[in-house]
Amino acid sequence: MITERQLDEARLAFGRLREAMSGVIVGHEEIVSGALISLLCGGNLLLEGVPGLGKTLLVRTLASALGLQFSRIQFTPDLMPADIIGTDILTEEDGKRRFSFAPGPVFAHIVLADEVNRATPKTQSALLEAMEERTVTVGRTTHKLEEPFMVLATENPIEMEGTYPLPEAQVDRFLLKLEVHSPTVNELVEIARRNTEGQGIILPDPVASRDDILLARSVVREVPVGEGLRKFVARLVLATHADADSAPAVVKEFVEYGASPRAAIAMLQAAKAHAFLEGEPNVRVRDIEAVYHAALVHRILLNFRGDAEGVGITEMISEVWRRTKVT
């Protein structure tokens, strides 16, 4: 049972966290909010954007503000799974040789998987267990990852040659997918000023602890959602299936596979976190709307015709939202 004091403490901690990130990251409120939501839900975040938009800085700032262990993995075609999860190495201690486990960079609280689509599917799959089960299995030994654990992966939508699109099973394990857009003029001016004046970018000191995050997670899970809204979310997800009666024509025509049940879970979890961050005592429709696109956009697979005609999934799920009534 969450007390009023715990609720207030959790909110204050994340208020400080958001403020600290805003001091470093210019603009990108949606991205910052998405990162915090993923952190509150214990989910993973997939960021898509061209290089140089501050994706890595965002992750580093988050880790710094939380005082958590941060690691960055640059995915390349020759990256091997052992390079991510670690491996058993032969060590000698007191004249005795034995194998001991050398943890890879995945053993951190916040892992930045930079350009995750440049590694081979085999290497990408090395993250699957860590992302979903919060464990890493090397040989016969399963190692538990320490909470809070979160993977923030980035994708580069250009330079698609030599890339390996993430397998559906892995994409589905990302709670949200956010597109990082180019900053506006004012934002760009501010970015330039911060990077060229004074001491440059200074990462924030920790403003929230690991316990604060765990407490906030437990609070978020208790945020109430009306039964009607749960049904609404379910209808939204089902409407992305081509064989659903409630699906719009564009879905029926161009969708091969609709969103999985994970989408409904992610949407409700993210909506709860959004309401928490907004200081609301309950989930509202606008909370669902705020996370709707990010929770669905990477979970819908177009058919051949949809791919050939370049159908936009964002527009498609916007149509689903418009056609699905709350009550």
């Binding site: 049972m1 969450i2 007390t3 009023e4 609720l7 208790e222 945020v223 109430p224 959602v225 009306g226 039964e227 009607g228 809204l229 049904k231 609301e280 005592p281 309950n282 989930v283 509202r284 429709v285 606008r286 709350v326 009550t327």
Partner: protein
Amino acid sequence: MFSLSDLLVQVGRRHRRQRGLQLAAWISLSLTFVLSVLVPAYLFASTTQRLLVSLWMLPVVAALVVFAVAGRRRIDISRILLHIDQQLGTGERLSSLYEVSSRDGPDVFRYRIEKALRGKPLPWRRAMPLHRSTVAALCAAVLLWGGLGTVVTGLWKVGADDTEISGALATDDGARGRESSAVAEERIRDDQQSPERSTVAPDGAVDGGSNLREAILGASTHIDVDGELLAALAMLEAFVTSEVVGGDASGAGFGQDPGRREQAIARAESLLESAQSELSSGGAISQASRDEMIALAASLAGAIEENTLAALAETPTGIGELVSGLATEEDIPADEQQGISRSGGPEDPAADQDQDQNQDESQLGTSVGGPSTEDSASDSAGLDAAAGAIERPLVSALGSPGFVTEKLGGVLTDETTFRELLTQGIPVEPIYEPGGGAVNSLELDPLRLQAVVEQRSLSMKQQDLIEAYFRAVTQGGT
């Protein structure tokens, strides 16, 4: 003070009422509409009053039942609360509060939500208005139902009149049948005892005509028609205009005294002109004229009967055939009667109704015997020309030498109006011409009947009934 439990009770009650009202409105509107379509189609024209009222009350009963049932059905309160949230813009707090209300113990979120809800008014009733479509359906149903009630009331009255008229006709038919049967038996006995007094055919024809006229006007107690006067008018007019005036048999009827006959004709013409002028001036026939016409008609009838008996006595073969026709009348095959009925048109409901009535009355006529079969014979003879040759024994008898049956002016159709129907030679009144042999023709001046009908402001329904009667008569019924 905000209270979720109170709110749930009130919201649930209101929703149930609205749902019940909505369903009841549409159900009642649908039923009323269907009934409104069927009533003008005369679906209920032949139904009983109780059934008519029951059908009229059906939409109301159905609406009440639906309202009651809808009020007892389970409701999705979370969905209703979410709807109210959406309408009032409360940030889905009501539905969320309902969700957390089931949690045990104190809950910080419930406390926060209730605190937020207490902060501003919650006009939840505004979020649950009665739908315009429901109101429209309700209003339409009430208006339509009221209109239907007016129609039903009208049909009710007509139905009551029809029932009385039909009852009177049936009573009259029955009484006439019994009387005619007795007369026929007595007549046959008389024939056996004294062949020279074979007055069966003329008597029968007279009785048939009288009975027919009485049947037409038998409802006079209900529609206030002076049947006796009408019969007298018909008799006088027939006497004046028909060939019986100049025939050989007329001399016998007036004791071989042409002067007396001419006086009777002149007197009859005078009375008819007087009656015609009185009627055309919009008034009624005076009591003195009425009495005088009735008296003259009675005397003429006696003279004609005497004349006809004399003529019939000279043609024993005709008597024999007539008697055999009377004897075999009850053996008319059913398919032959149906063939007669079919002449009214199989595809028309009115014709069907007429057929039914015709069949019923044919059966009645068969059961009551002699004189009514003579009516049928005379009438059927007229129908032969109109609907095709349908031979019946009695028709053959009447159509043999010594009997001349008047032909209809044309084919009776469903479009035939009342006036047309009457003016096409519906045989109603027997006319005899002693000098010209046994001439048996039936005639009724429709102007007289129409005048009386119009003067008494009979409804179309009642006129239709009279018309239906004539249809039945011309098709072999009584």
